[in-house]
Amino acid sequence: MKQREVVIGHRLGIHARAAARLVQLSSQYQSTIVLFRSDSANTIEADARSILSILLLSAGFGSKVNVRAEGVDEDEAVEAISEYLTG
């Protein structure tokens, strides 16, 4: 398992257009990829291949998100997704 915390640097990071691109990017890897975001009350989890769950993560510009991947290509997956989210 591989995990990294990133700060959303992409204005579009979670919005329709870029959420769509994030799903397309995540679909290129075999690992399961999950995003976590914690606010004061709880932790929200999103499947990086589900556009609806990414949108519902509601991670705005500047918010902190944990990218976690598990599988044969977890290193590359975390690397690529983190780079994309940092903008």
Partner: protein, 571 residues
């Protein structure tokens, strides 16, 4: 007979249209809910998958058509729809519900989508809440395809129609595009919605968020005015005539000289007029280039700036502005820096306001201002860029703005970013103070823009969004004519260029007055572009100068207007 009524909304797509209301009722998802026998489940899942597949094919077809006709800006939203159709959170959960609860697909779709709608409604983010509309659109499509009913379609209507509804899904607007739909007005929604993006791509005038539309019935006559952000319900014959006159006058002019995209804006007596386009959204640049616009005379950046519902970061601003410049294909683009007050949503349109607006806002929020300036400078390597400062009212304002601009440039140098150091800086003349003292500002700037909309409001003390005084708003008022003449006289010796970019430049008679007074550079909305070009090609500059001399002696706006109309539309 009902009285004319003005309904306020928010501009989602510019232009004006007159037509009859056609109501699109929100689809009532009344479908039978029933329990299945376990042996029926497999078949039911297949039926659902069939509906998903059919929906996917429809969307793919729509997407390829959109790519062909409107470019990538609107086809991306179909991408989002397609991804929902393969989303496990959606599709797999529906199948799971069918299988475990032994219920029909319609029921399962409703349950899963209701949960998702609730989750969306809880979000604290306007932009994301708007995405609820996309899900709604998909659900509608799936349900219709399940019932193997064709999506409700209009036959070609016998009259021009304005589509009215609580919310009109983007795909509906697209499917109806060729059916004499001339305008769109919705009770809810915002310019951020995908329907709004679609309307701009299809160049259909649109007003959203006009809640009073709820009372409008199919068949009522409506005017959608995407210049002023209003819908006029049951307009008087006089009002309809006014709006239609614009069209008809335009057509009358059309008969005279042939105008094509490549025809130059040149008067009968060979005086060259510069004619640019005003845009509110980056998507319009492509259309402007296609219409052969010589330059973008005014890009109102606040709409795109606040588009995502929150502040953009510098990198994405640089990317956006670079794209605008590249799409302009070498034509100069004048970026007007943000013109809003802090408590005012940028897309609310700017009402009569004597408070913190335009440059005043930027000088109080220098972090936002500097970010925008740095982004503009960084994008400037991609094409000729001009920066325009709105709502300037003194030389002190200008000094303060220059100090911030200098700071932004120093920061770019420190960060070793490339930029064009010679980006021209201009001032918008839209306050009486700027009109009176533009000559004093001339040595501090490279160019001027004359914003007649605000100038007229402030000069005549008329708030155009106030129905009780709007009839007093008049560009032919002698006070306005004198003001314009004064600006011209003050600026002429300075040699600094000035472009008129208010609506006064977009209506042929008042635009002719501007030409007669000596202004030879105009910038107008895309909707008005060809009609103004036709006007320019049908008039003689020497006659307009004589006309200007005559009207300066007149006492009443009405007399001025009649004389000008007769001269421009000489029949």
């Amino acid at each position: 007979m009902r009285e004319e009524r003005i309904i306020h909304g928010v501009v989602a797509s510019v232009g004006t249209a007159v037509g009859k209301a056609v109501r699109t009722f929100d689809p009532l998802f009344v479908s039978f809910n029933f329990k299945l026998r376990p042996d029926q489940v497999r078949k039911e899942v297949e039926r659902f998958r069939g509906s998903v597949e059919k929906s996917r094919e429809q969307l793919k077809r729509m997407q390829s058509e959109l790519r062909k006709n409107s470019g990538p800006e609107s086809s991306f939203l179909i991408d989002a729809h397609l991804l929902v159709l393969q989303d496990r959170l959606f599709v797999d959960r529906i199948i799971e519900k069918v299988e475990t609860d032994c219920i029909n697909s319609e029921w399962a779709i409703q349950q899963v989508s209701d949960e998702l709608f609730q989750a969306y409604d809880r979000l604290n983010d306007e932009y994301l809440r708007e995405r609820r509309g996309d899900l709604d659109d998909i659900v509608r499509r799936l349900l219709h395809n399940l019932q193997s009913k064709p999506l409700p379609s209009f036959k070609k209507l016998p009259y021009d129609a304005i589509l009215v509804g609580k919310l009109v899904p983007p795909s509906t607007l697209f499917e109806l595009r060729s059916q004499r739909i001339v305008g769109l007005a919705t009770e809810t929604g915002s310019p951020l919605s995908h329907t709004a993006i679609m309307a701009r791509s299809l160049e259909i005038p649109a007003i959203v968020g006009a809640s009073e539309l709820a009372e409008v019935a199919s068949g009522d006559v409506l005017i959608v005015d995407g210049e002023r952000g209003i819908v006029i319900w049951s307009p008087s014959d006089e009002t309809v005539a006014q709006y239609k006159n614009r069209d008809r006058d335009g057509k009358k002019l059309k008969k005279k000289p042939a105008t094509s995209v490549s025809a130059p804006s040149i008067t009968e007596d060979s005086v060259q007029i510069s004619l640019g386009a005003n845009i509110n959204f980056s998507e319009e640049v492509r259309a402007a280039a296609a219409q052969g616009c010589e330059f973008i005379g005014l890009y109102r950046t606040e709409f795109d700036f606040f588009r995502e519902g929150k502040q953009p970061d510098e990198e994405s601003l640089v990317a956006d502005y670079s794209l605008v410049l590249k799409s302009a294909k070498g034509s100069p683009v004048t970026f007007r820096t943000i013109d809003v007050g802090i408590d005012q949503k940028s897309w609310d349109g700017v009402n009569m306001n004597l408070g913190v607006r335009g440059l005043r806002f930027c000088l109080e929020n220098t972090d936002i201002f500097k970010k925008q300036l740095r982004s503009l400078y960084r994008a400037s390597v991609h094409g000729p860029t001009r920066i325009l400062l709105p709502f300037v009212s003194s030389v002190d304002d200008l000094d303060a703005a220059h100090a911030v601009i200098e700071e932004a440039r120093r920061e770019l140098q420190a960060r070793r970013h490339r930029y064009d150091p010679n980006v021209p800086i201009g001032v918008m003349i839209e306050t009486p103070a700027a009109a009176q003292t533009c000559d004093l500002m001339a040595s501090l700037v490279d160019f001027f823009c004359l914003g007649t909309n605000d100038l007229i409001q402030y000069y005549l003390v008329v708030d155009r969004s106030d129905q009780s005084v709007v009839h007093l708003y008049n560009p032919f008022h002698p006070a306005i004519l004198r003001c314009l003449q004064q600006v011209y006289t003050l600026l002429r010796p300075t040699g600094k260029p000035v472009t008129v970019c208010g609506e006064m430049a977009a209506d042929p008679p008042s635009a002719a007055v501007l030409l007669g007074l000596g202004f030879t550079s105009l910038s107008v909305s895309l909707a008005a572009y060809s009609r103004i070009k036709r006007m320019i090609r049908s008039v003689s500059m020497s006659q307009l100068k004589d006309l200007a001399g005559e009207i300066m002696k007149m006492h009443k706006p009405k007399e001025v207007e009649e004389m000008v109309r007769a001269a421009v539309y000489r029949t």
